[in-house]
């Protein structure tokens, strides 16, 4: 639901990056979205399309890299799980598991045109 406000923040930051590097047009933006970031990659892409209209990022590609959360046993290390399912306890030793990562919501890369020409 807050994908639009995230897309606006992203536009502000990427325009800053563009200005800093003297670029003319944003071609591709790569972001990291974690399983626990409460963000739907598809909706973020739609929001990006909408907020970039009439901006130097219009028509740019938003690439989303998805990061699942990990469940980690304090003695046995990371355990196997598939996104969306959770193991109550470690399958090997029965200890409670910590949830780690999956809260990524980061800008990774910005690809842009210099001199107004597309390569």
């Amino acid at each position: 639901m807050h994908e639009a406000s995230l897309a606006l923040e992203l536009l502000k930051i990427t325009q800053g990056v563009l200005a800093e590097h003297g670029g003319s047009r944003i071609l591709r933006v790569k972001v990291a979205v974690g399983e626990l970031s409460a963000v739907e990659p598809e909706l973020l892409r739609y929001a990006w399309e909408a907020v970039t209209l009439e901006s130097p990022a219009q028509g740019s590609v938003l690439e989303v890299e998805f990061f699942p959360a990990r469940q980690v046993c304090p003695t046995c290390g990371p355990v196997q799980r598939s996104p969306g399912s959770w193991l109550p306890l470690c399958v090997s030793c029965g200890a409670p598991l910590r949830v780690e990562g999956g809260d990524e919501l980061d800008l990774l890369e910005v690809e842009f045109d210099v001199n107004g020409e597309k390569s």
């Binding site: 807050h2 670029g23 949830v99 842009f112």
Partner: protein, 220 residues
């Protein structure tokens, strides 16, 4: 010719900075700040009414409350003779740190022992926005169904306290309290879980004691 810049920063960097400034301020002022998150109707305002009424006389408390529209929730706290300030988000589904900063400047609460931030009723979006709080509290009412922690895992991994509200309805609704507590502990083994009814007072003492202990720890 195209170039690629390696950036690696949080998308919510601006919010993170504002939240850090708030956290420094709350730490200097030694105010305990709690961010309450739940779906609409889980009982955030009702729990806060009962909580601040219990703490009144002992501690200076205030409530910042976010809603899309109306002053109703702030009015309910003010009716108790206690300070509250309503943040109207005008459609936004969460509070952000800059709104909290602005609201504090306008509210003029003065020195506080505890500040409660009642977020917009939503189990999803408020999870991503740090407000400079000491900890998040997630509320889940017995009428919402006992599958919610696994359906909305993000908030249950991030909230260090979970309050199951409306437990006076336990014999009326089909809600497996133990199963829910297992789900919460699966997502967050360190979480403290309380069973509370603001209506009957059940569990209120333990919940308020936890708040007072957290305040004492912050001041130690």
């Amino acid at each position: 010719m195209s170039q690629t810049a390696d950036v690696r920063m949080q998308i919510l960097e601006a919010n993170r900075k504002a939240a850090e400034a708030l956290r420094r301020r709350f730490s200097q002022e030694k105010t305990l700040v709690v961010n309450l998150i739940s779906s609409p109707g889980a009982g955030k305002t009702t729990l806060l009414e009962a909580t601040v009424a219990r703490l009144a006389g002992k501690l200076r408390t205030a409530v910042l409350v976010g809603d899309i529209a109306t002053e109703r929730d702030a009015d309910r706290i003010r009716r108790l003779g206690l300070p509250a300030y309503q943040i109207l988000t005008g459609g936004a589904c969460h509070l952000d740190a800059r709104q909290v900063e602005g609201a504090l400047a306008r509210a003029g609460f003065g020195a506080l022992d505890m500040l409660f931030i009642e977020n917009v009723g939503n189990l999803i979006c408020p999870t991503s926005y740090d407000l400079g709080e000491d900890f998040k509290v997630v509320l889940l009412s017995l009428t919402e169904g006992d599958d919610k922690p696994f359906k909305y895992p993000a908030i249950f991994t991030k909230a260090s306290v979970a309050v199951l509200t409306k437990v006076d309805l336990q014999n009326i609704v089909d809600f497996d309290v133990e199963a829910v507590e297992t789900q919460i502990r699966t997502l967050n083994p360190q979480a403290q879980v309380f069973r509370v009814s603001a209506k009957t007072g059940e569990g209120m003492e333990a919940w308020c004691r936890t708040l007072e202990l957290a305040l004492a720890a912050k001041r130690a």
